[in-house]
Amino acid sequence: MEKKLDVIGEIKKASKSVTTGIDEKDIEYWVEIYIMGKGYKVPAALTVMQAMEYAGYRFTRACGCRAGFCGACSTIYRMKGEYKLLTCMACQTRVEDGMFLVQIPFAPADKPSYDLDKESADPSIFLKYFPEIARCVSCNTCTKACPQDLEVMDYIQSALRGDFKAVAEESFDCIQCGLCAMRCPAEIVHYNVAQLGRRVYGKFLNPPEKSVEARVKEIEEGKFNKDRDNFLKVSEKEMRKLYAERVREAD
């Protein structure tokens, strides 16, 4: 006799560890972690973030995209018996037995205001808005703190030299989590320096693309208005025909 398979029910059941929170009875492997010094037994296959939730925390701060893009869940930790402080993104790091954890969800750092239309790719712009970068002692603590494994100190040195391209390239994968700034003995806000560098590079050193300029002009001149007027009035049948007649450009 064929048993009717409840596919969606099965998926729902299997997904519940990430959709409704995990059930103790499903767990085979456990580790012990310390959230701000307090010990909790948590499932071994979770991230630091999920483990904290399992333990009973509901986040307002220190939780964002949950996918490693947003930098909300900056975390500092130490392994039991060690002295070294390590950093991670809570959503992208698996829990390990003996982690002592604290989160740094907010960096009390200033961001200067600027109007890039009134600026240029003048190498002195970095020191104009971020004079503190001159205090860099090349200790490399920022680089060690970076959860994206960027060469943070290198790009600050590039900023000091006024090398926009190097700043832009070296900092491109920055998620602005703030861990570099929180560890820096010179109080540099690296990720804001990098943001300025990338914007100046993108705006002034990467000349405006020509086809988009031309197309914007055509649109402003009303070149496609007749297409618009046609699309707004023809029948669905006619639209289906137009869709079917499209020709795909070659790969």
């Binding site: 398979l5 995990i22 307002t60 893009f69």
Partner: protein
């Protein structure tokens, strides 16, 4: 407390199946399974696609979309009682502003900047956001932004691609706005300093997207959304526009007239005049009175429609949809949801997160546990997703993870096999990094995937200015409905956010200049809504908006005592 033993990032028991994939790669070098016939597609969709498998949707019982189908999780929110008792809230105004923007993804931030550009002084703009500024699905976008700017392309072709992709259900005038503004948006982003990928001649490197007949995807490596968002956010912050972070909007305010007599005299039934905000930390409410309100709160992936994992941000709980509906705004296309076939199924840490379609278009094949290629890799998203579900649950050819997820392999090493060594590292640096963090080398081993909840196709209906049917209320971005019809194409979501973020900012600025004076704000529309709920005999067991999902452990919740 045994630690889980891992080999190459995977539990030991999975290695046998991984070896099967690695061992069959050479024989699969020149083999691709055939694509399905129309009949096969219809059958697999109706049997396995979450939108078609019965049981997931129900009709909305009350309000302006009464009778429309929506996912039960969404209907639950619409058929829920407000968080606040309208009679107990004192409506003394804390903030008086011209334009209130709710949400700070690409849509909200673009709206603020453009309203400012259109002459609204920064002091007369207020942006409120539930989490930090920029916390949004926008920053998680990988693939790119569509814009028809190459000589062999034009907005009309872009329009047709999106209209067919939306199964001919898109609102045409709104879609035209999207494609017409697209090149302008790219130019705007470039002028703000966005680093788009360019070839050595200075032209954009434009790539294919599913369902398009031209290459028009503008990317920033594989961090497109992050790059666009952080540039726009930096501009927003530089303008020092007043911002309230960690403030959720929990209701809109209206100056709704109580009696029908007013209506018959021709006065507007209601007008949105601001919102009730709630401090996520101190739990205190604030009243914002605004001449125009722009809802840019994003989608609802964190409702986990049908119990699916999601690619979405922690805050994607559909709040704006609920607020606008209670104020009388019309919704549309609420019956479809986009599932992406390749969400990560393992490791646990990244379950549901997106693995871009580009992996398959450059050679990665879906493979079952025995090492067999079981489906054409580039079926439309819904078909591909359904075939994965069938492989795992009907044919039992999936791989089960330690937490019970079933998935199939995506044979990523085949990308280098086809395109040459080094191609993966060069084209997918973000993805390689993500797997590396969990000890998995996607250049050497396949990755495990299963379908994931991705996008809210429908939403609050707008016109080409971002205006809703309610005076004073504008919407932009994923929370809106109409522009994508019943299915969105890749590359049109970041575009939608910026086009309609900008337009709502521009037209809200135009609108507020015509508003002379606001009446005293009320929550009459909430009282009316509560009455509708009661009349429909809906029990007071649910409240909305939910603001954030709850993933706390069951064992802890069971022992929780609320005494402090």
């Amino acid at each position: 407390m045994a630690e889980l033993k891992l080999v190459g990032g995977y539990p030991e028991y999975m290695r046998k199946s991984i070896e099967a994939v690695n061992n069959t790669r050479e024989e699969r070098r020149n083999y691709t399974p055939p694509s399905m016939t129309a009949e096969q597609r219809t059958e697999i969709l109706s049997k396995y696609h979450p939108d078609f498998v019965p049981g997931g949707k129900r009709k909305i019982k009350i309000g302006q979309n009464k009778g429309d189908m929506a996912p039960s999780e969404v209907t639950d929110l619409l058929e829920a009682y407000p968080l606040i008792d309208p009679k107990k809230i004192k409506l003394n105004v804390d903030y008086e502003t011209d334009i209130l923007i709710i949400g700070s993804g690409l849509a909200g931030l673009s709206a603020a900047i453009l309203a400012n550009d259109c002459g609204i002084p920064k002091e007369k703009i207020l942006l409120a956001t539930k989490l930090r500024v920029g916390d949004s699905n926008s920053m998680m976008a990988e693939g790119g932004t569509q814009a028809a700017d190459r000589p062999n392309d034009n907005p009309a072709i872009h329009f047709l691609d999106a209209y067919g992709g939306g199964h001919f259900t898109n609102k045409r005038d709104v879609l035209w706005g999207l494609v017409e503004d697209a090149p302008l948006v790219i130019k705007w982003l470039e002028n703000l300093g966005t680093m788009f990928d360019k070839n050595p001649d200075g032209y954009f490197e434009e790539k294919w997207g599913g369902g398009t007949c031209r290459k028009r995807m503008h990317a920033c490596r594989d961090y497109t959304g992050l790059e666009e968002l952080r540039v726009v956010r930096d501009e927003f912050r530089s303008r020092e526009i007043p911002t309230l972070e960690f403030y959720s909007a929990i209701e809109l305010l209206t100056d709704m007239c109580e009696d029908d007599a007013h209506k018959s005299k021709g006065s507007k039934e209601n007008k949105v005049t601001g919102a009730v905000l709630w401090n996520m930390e101190t739990q205190e409410y604030k009243i914002v009175r605004a001449k125009a309100t722009i809802i840019a709160t994003g989608g609802f992936g964190r409702l986990h429609i049908r119990g699916f994992a999601t690619t979405n941000h922690y805050g994607a709980t559909g709040d704006g949809l609920v607020l606008a509906y209670r104020a009388g705004a019309k919704l549309r296309d609420t019956d479809t949801v986009q599932y992406h076939p390749t969400g990560a199924a393992y490791p646990q840490q990244i379950v549901g997160l997106l693995l871009t379609e580009k992996l398959r278009s450059t050679g990665a094949q879906p493979i079952n546990k025995t090492g067999e290629a079981f489906v054409f890799p580039l079926e439309p998203r819904d078909i591909e997703a359904s075939s994965f579900i069938r492989e795992c649950y009907e044919r039992d050819n999936g791989i089960t993870t330690p937490t019970g997820m079933r998935g199939v392999w995506l044979d990523t090493p085949r990308i280098d096999q086809i395109n040459g060594k080094g191609y993966i590292a060069k084209s997918f640096p973000g993805m390689v990094r993500m797997f590396e963090r969990f000890g998995i080398d996607m250049i050497k081993d396949p990755v495990l995937v299963s379908p994931t909840l991705h996008y809210q196709n429908g939403g609050i209906e707008t016109d080409p200015k971002g205006k809703t049917n309610i005076e004073g209320l504008f919407v932009a971005g994923e929370v809106s409905g109409g522009v994508h019809g019943k299915n969105r194409l890749m590359g049109n979501s970041t575009l939608d956010c910026i086009v309609y973020g900008r337009r709502s900012g521009i037209y809200a600025a135009e609108y507020v200049n015509k508003v002379a004076k606001l009446n005293t704000p009320t929550l009459k529309h909430i009282e009316k809504y509560i009455k509708m709920l009661k009349d429909a005999k809906i029990k007071e067991e649910r409240k909305s908006p939910i603001l954030l999902p709850d993933y706390r452990g069951k064992a802890t919740l069971a022992r929780m005592v609320d005494i402090f």
